[in-house]
Amino acid sequence: MRQQELEKAKDYKYGFTTDIESIRAPKGLNEEVIKFISNIKKEPKWMLEWRLKAFNRLKSIKEPNWQKPKYPKIDYQNLYYYSAPKSAKDKPKSLDEVDPKLIETYKKLGIPLKEQEKLAGVAVDAVFDSVSVATTFKDKLTEKGIIFCPISEAIQKHPDLVKKYLGSVIPITDHYFATLNSAVFTDGSFVYIPEGVRCPMELSTYFRINASETGQFERTLIIADKGSYVSYLEGCTAPMRDENQLHAANVELVALDDAEIKYSTVQNWYPGDKDGKGGIYNFVTKRGLCKGKNSKISWTQVETGSAITWKYPSCILKGDNSVGEFYSIAITNNYQKADTGTKMIHLGKNTKSKIISKGISAGHADNTYRGLVDINKNALNARNYTQCDSLLMGNKCGAHTVPYIKNKNSSSTIEHEATTSKINEDQLYYCNQRGLNQEESVGLIVNGFCKEVLQQLPMEFAVEAQKLVGISLEGSVG
């Protein structure tokens, strides 16, 4: 299949010179490149038109600049927008060739050797274990009528669903990065849960081969039909290597009547070195639409990686009695920066939202919670509860809480609580006196601080995430 794609690309009429080993579009952002991507993905015409519409829009809009973390100007003409996954030749041959620090972290997380190899991008000859796992897994889903596949496959095989819902939550005109993604996205996941079906397992990008190589412009679309339920896991606790600096993914969720979507993320992209050099810009747009009555969307995120994390997983509570939740842990250490939070847009009657945010800042890092609770005039009896807690380690880091509230309805109830505290030296001393070293003690106390969010994660994720919390703060307390 891949071979065919490559062959085809070789003959691509725009005459891009490509060799089989490393096929990629030339640098730059223009119509030709978008056509190249669409062609290589064998997309129908409507999809290409959709992309081009986004691209045209992009030309007339500017990058936002209101966020707290500033970054050097990105030269969009100097990026590659498509490149095939690396061939075995360019990959490290074994873990011996991989940065020992990375391996050390994998070991601390208790990641099996086979997975370490995959994560570190080692060329593995043998068929990776998860291929067989993935197959049995797929059979189970098919039985229930669940669709779980790469979005590029869905565009070909399920065009009606994609046409109907893609861009229905994040319109292509939304904002700079969302529009950029719409023009150039390369891959991502597609999920459809049929009416009344409860997805029998946690869906995870992990089970999709090559998920780690979908690139910087990922696109995910999840649709939960009436009365269905799905829990989706994105990302991975292990630090992921990636050569792309900018990550601008779009994730859209749609929940119809009585449906529930639980979306959990653990983000641990390369944060840059101790002095703040390098690292990923994680500028992601995530939005869920509670379209039907009694529907529910719940976002849980553990953000520990990236040089800059800038994202607001949001819920549009359109259906009456719908519920939106946002549980977040954002950890910044060294020179990392985060500006994250959520938007809860209450449109329907009796809609409820809950926001629990835990920000932890260490080193020279800066951590902002920014959130909007917007209660429309028709949202009778809407309720929101927001709790934002910040924990500071040392005195060179920052924490900020920026809650916006727009309330156009007098029958609504809005509660907001916020705390900022320093890590308690006496608590650390108590832990030390019980034989725990500084890192273990910090890990324990911070995990306690984050408990309400951690317990939202599915079991298998929670255990790893707890370890990750400790590891992310290594060296933060003298």
Binding site: Q427, C431, Q433, R434, G435, L436, L444, G448
Partner: protein, 244 residues
């Protein structure tokens, strides 16, 4: 076991311990009494290695100087401090804390760490031995514990971690008579010819249940008198005035 020579400690330019000498042999139980503010908790903190003090003099534990030894290493070597005011750590499950603690200590000693099942078995055994309701262990560490529950929890931790030197800082203060007996049981059931205790208390009451080998009076940063059990009885009657 523990040898303290001419120990002086100050904090924030305030001198608190002013030349303290103490020798505890394996298997001995020493009680320290003394007026409020005389430096008893400071002594306990300094022995545990708490940072922030300016220290001169010598502290030797099992023949080794503790000068450059960190708080956690001292704990791993077998020094345990039952705090006068145990800390609350929200969100941290008490059982989980204790297990992490025990395993760090076992690991440092080169012993095999306990899995969850054997740990829970140990906890059950020790808590029923002391008559402590193990339900408190599934709660967040010390959060919302009553004063007495906090103290009992400290003693349970002591039993489970099985230290060589236990320092009890007013573990008997504020306890009802049943809780006091639990504390005494915790100490007495651990006593043998190897384990030593330093028990800080204001009340002779506790010393009726746990018989000290020596009683010291700490006053203004120094040990001003040393005696045996009767000294505590005498202090109970006369107070500290006569001693100074």
């Amino acid at each position: 076991m523990l040898e303290i020579k001419n120990l002086k400690a100050s904090i924030n330019e305030r001198s608190i311990l002013k030349g303290l000498n103490l020798h505890i042999k394996p298997g001995e139980l020493h009680a320290i009494m003394g007026p409020n503010g005389s430096g008893k908790s400071t002594l306990a903190n300094v022995l545990s290695g708490k940072k922030g003090y300016e220290i001169t003099g010598e502290i030797n534990f099992e023949g080794e100087s503790l000068k450059a030894v960190s708080v956690e290493e001292r704990a791993q070597k077998g020094i345990f401090l039952a705090f006068q005011y145990p800390l609350e750590i929200p969100g941290v499950n008490t059982n989980n804390f204790l297990k992490t603690s025990l395993n760090s200590i076992l690991k440092a000693k080169g012993k095999k760490e306990l899995d969850t099942l054997s740990f829970l078995k140990l906890v059950k055994e020790k808590s029923s031995e002391l008559g402590i309701d193990e339900k408190i262990l599934s709660r967040q560490l010390n959060v919302g514990f009553s004063g007495g529950e906090k103290k009992k929890n400290e003693i349970l931790q002591m039993k489970i971690l099985d230290p060589n030197l236990s320092i009890l800082d007013e573990t008997d203060s504020g306890l009802d008579i049943d809780a006091l007996k639990i504390i005494a049981k915790g100490v007495n059931s651990s006593r043998d010819d190897k384990k030593s205790f330093l028990v800080i208390t204001h009340y002779q009451r506790l010393l009726e249940y746990i018989k000290p080998d020596f009683v010291h009076v700490l006053s203004d940063g120094k040990i001003v008198r040393t005696g045996c059990g009767e000294l505590a009885e005498e202090l109970e009657k006369t107070g500290y005035k006569k001693i100074n």
